[in-house]
């Protein structure tokens, strides 16, 4: 028991703390300040625990979860994402007048769900993790209770999310039917041994699970919810969902692929390749037409899911390391840009049009410079983190023989540059038409400094993260 708890320390600690935070909420009035501090400490400690457990190996709780390496990396990533989010959330929520006490404990619960996804070694624990995360997201996206858009976003997300969960569960059931186990290791063993009695169910099960997870990752053709939900949800929640949520989806994807790959290597790879190509093209082309900045970033987030899937297509050590690197850098640049959007936003969906950013560089030179760096990084221009992320994924895809996919990725990056630098054109080359709001940066500044430092350091010195990621997936490159 102790062994099991130690193995999953970041997750168990954080979950326990989340429950305590919830109780504190219920007992103390106006506890936002307390829960905020409590969450900050919790996230820092769980981040440290994640680092401490990195070297561990093995499975715990009767094979339900794994620990160390892969899981620890994601624990750290989610803690970081949570920290960046709640630092920025405090002033944002106050500005919008929605700082209800339970926000921070909800964020902790979501992170707990995500961590469980990273730790899961069994379809059941995977499902529980996904559900915990999703339910919190349904609530958080409707957090701006007085805003119709926010409520609509929540409802839409809930209905479609529940629908997609159906696919996921059905897929899991079929895989269980075909292989006779829920445990990843047993599934893998049974597949390699061959001669499964109900083998024909396996591909259908895999397909249904891919559909369910693609929904969570906002990949084509299951991305339709993303723009509406991301636009309607409170900006800071969007930042959290579109980064940590996406990372969680890939934390589910990667072990699943590794387990199921022997069953359907070529077909599965090809399916992912087609999905990936369609996702990035649709995401980027749709983003071109957007006038609302949150919607633009939402479609761009769809496109980034497409790039990330290139790593799944490659299905190799370098592909998975590329995904890890990309998710990390994506977290910095996407949360960073949403924080700036949140800082400039005004109550009642004001100041969210791209046109409103005209002349930003004069009024807020530092914010504009940061935003420009985030945009260049999202567009994949060196020397920023986004470039190296793309570089690794491209390399992995070409190495796996998917040159055509890389060429499509390059073409869609070129499309994406147009709207990313379009925002820079607005901020730097156009004069402002209306008054730019003053803004109090406050604690968001912390998040901004961390994100900008992340984008630049990962861009100039990418080798640290990469060698960690390589260590996770072993040096068995083919």
């Amino acid at each position: 028991m102790i062994q099991d708890l130690l193995l999953t320390a970041p997750f168990t600690f954080l979950s326990a703390m989340a429950i305590i935070a919830m109780v504190v909420d219920a007992l103390i009035k106006n506890s936002a300040r307390i829960t905020f501090l409590f969450s900050v400490i919790t996230l820092i400690v769980s981040g440290i625990l994640a680092i401490a457990t990195f070297g561990q190996h093995g499975i715990g709780f009767n094979g339900m979860v794994t620990g160390g390496g892969f899981a620890s990396y994601f624990d750290l990533l989610f803690s970081l994402g949570g920290l960046l989010t709640i630092f920025a959330a405090r002033s944002y929520l106050q500005r919008e007048g929605i700082e209800h006490d339970e926000f921070y404990s909800l964020v902790l619960f979501a992170i707990g769900g995500m961590m469980l996804i990273g730790h899961s070694n069994n379809l059941l624990s995977l499902f529980i993790g996904i559900e915990i995360m999703s339910v919190v997201f349904y609530v958080l996206s409707g957090y701006m209770r007085s805003s119709i858009a926010s409520v609509e976003s929540s409802l839409k997300y809930f209905l479609l999310g529940a629908f997609s969960t159906g696919f996921l569960v059905y897929g899991m059931a079929l895989i269980y039917g075909a292989t006779g186990s829920m445990d990843y290791n047993h599934i893998a063993m049974n597949i390699t041994r061959g001669s499964l009695p109900l083998e024909s169910l396996l591909p259908i099960g895999i397909a249904l699970m891919v559909i369910g997870l693609s929904f969570k990752a906002a990949a084509f053709p299951f991305h339709q919810w993303a723009p509406d939900v991301y636009q309607g949800a409170p900006t800071i929640v969007t930042a959290f969902m579109s980064t940590a949520g996406k990372a969680a989806a890939f934390a589910a994807f990667m072990p699943m692929i590794m387990v199921l790959m022997p069953a359907a290597t070529a077909k599965l790879q090809m399916t992912f390749a087609v999905l990936s190509a369609a996702t990035m093209l649709i995401g980027n082309i749709s983003a071109l037409a957007q006038t609302n900045i949150k919607r633009m970033l939402a479609f761009s987030s769809v496109a980034h899911a497409g790039y990330l899937m290139m790593g799944l297509v490659a299905g190799s050590q370098s592909g998975y390391s590329g995904i890890m690197f990309y998710l990390t850098s994506y977290m910095f640049m996407q949360i960073g840009s949403f924080i700036i959007v949140g800082l400039l936003e005004r109550r009642g969906e004001e100041h969210l049009e791209i046109a409103d950013y005209a002349g930003l560089s004069k009024k807020h030179p530092v914010l504009a410079a940061f935003m420009a760096i985030f945009m260049f990084s999202l567009a994949g221009i060196p020397p920023f983190a986004g470039f190296f992320g793309k570089y690794y994924l491209f390399t992995a895809a070409i190495d796996a023989g998917y040159l055509w996919l890389t060429i499509i990725a390059v073409l869609s990056s070129i499309i994406s540059v147009y709207f990313y630098i379009g925002l820079i054109v607005k901020m730097y080359f156009n004069e402002s038409e209306k008054d730019m709001p003053d803004t109090e940066i406050g604690l968001s500044g912390m998040s901004l400094v961390i994100t900008i430092a992340g984008v630049i350091i990962l861009g100039i010195m990418p080798s640290g993260i990469l060698s960690i990621a390589n260590a996770i997936f072993g040096h068995s490159s083919h």
């Binding site: 690794y392 491209f394 390399t395 390059v410 147009y418 630098i421 080359f429 080798s463």
Partner: protein
Amino acid sequence: MPHTDSAGLLFLPLFLPLLGFLSILFIDRVQEKAIKYVTLIFSMLTFFASLPLWFAFNDGLDGFQFYSNIPWIPSIDAGFRIGLDGMSLLLVVLTTFIMPISILASFEPIGKRLKEYYAMMLLLEFGMLGVFVSLDTMLFYVFWELILIPMYFLIGIWGGKDRIYAAVKFFLYTLVGSLLMLIAIVWMGLYAKWTPGGHFTTDFLILKQLAPGIQVDIQIWLFLAFALSFCIKVPLFPFHTWLPDAHVQAPTAGSVILAGVLLKMGTYGLIRFNLELFPQALYEFAHPIAWLSVIGVIYGALVAMVQTDIKKLVAYSSVSHLGFVVLGIVSVTPEGLQGAIIQMVNHGLSTGMLFLCVGVLYERRHTREIADFGGITKVMPKFAAMFTIAMMASVGLPGLNGFIGEYLTLFGSFQSKFLNNPWYSIFSASGVIFAAVYLLWMFQRVMFGTNDNPKNHGLTDLTRSEYWQLVPLVIFIVWIGVFPKTFLSKTELYAQTLVGSIEKTVLGTSAYPKIKAQKIQEHVNHKSGH
């Protein structure tokens, strides 16, 4: 093998602009004078720091000098690998030389957002120097793209009326090319991994050894991916359409840098990557590229002739002049190659000077229409003298720099066994005549005739600052024209070695007709007989 002697010399001029960039960020934006002078001082220091390279460079050594290799991203074997050969030495010194002049030329015209402007100038210099010294494909790519950002802002913020259109066009054009190059870079790294016992690498020197082993049909694709990126940058006809827009909209200093250095990144890349790595593919594509450059020479000249805007005229003259450079490159003769390299420097000096002269006129009259001027010589005699030199250098008057470069490239392409067709030289030679026509005609309309526009009566002659921007350029224009050996000697060995190795590689391939191989063999024998 690369030579590592006094490798430290290269770091100072490379990193001084970056240091300058960082210092500018910490100066308060109201301290406009301080910002200007700090930038100028840093760019001058960079120039002086690059001079020791010139003197320490050993003309008689083959391979890269001042080579250093610092690990950067071990997992993909990318390193901070830098070094210089004769070609990059010339271009590095050209860059450090042009920058202080451009910065000085910005003092008067640039009136808004000085902090951003001068920071961008130094970042640009850092990027350009980085491109010329990188001996690692990854590092090269990072520097190559790094230049996009400052140049994009320079055009977009401080440019003319249609600056946004020009800036976005510049950005997208360049990016389309460079992303294809990125795929080629990745592919080459993977090729190194796929070879028995190999590992992924971006080390240019290793890739150069491996490149001849790549199948010819794949080499052709790699060649095209690199060439497209570079030809857009040069720009070679028909990829030139971004250039006039960018030039016309950019501020004077931006145009000077664009013409002076940025375009050379394209021709530099053609030599460094396309020639050095894929000689066989080059052999397949020498003719189409040569035709495109000849078309560029003539087309650029003809379009320049009908321009009514002086700056646009100079911009199209760039298209024409760079056609010569590319022709010299694909001729693959020592003369052609040396001519191409020296012509890169020449074009930087003389076209840069022409843009400065256009800037002088624009500052006074806020127009660049040829029809608005006339008889300027009478009111601005000093300026007239300078403008004459710039124009004559650009036309290719013997005794000035342009003549040497054009002569060598034409000579090289004429006797090229690779092209084996004298018509390229004959057609491009007409470009020299056209250049005389459009430049002299423009000069006559602007500078001579009657000064009958009252607005042109009271124009002041060159200020001291303008004078000192132009004089250093004149010195080098005359120097190269009269005594080119100072500069040619730097690239002599490089050109000969490269041409020799290309001929050897192409000869060794059985895919080519015997007769052609025979001819090249004779050529080689002929050469070695000397």
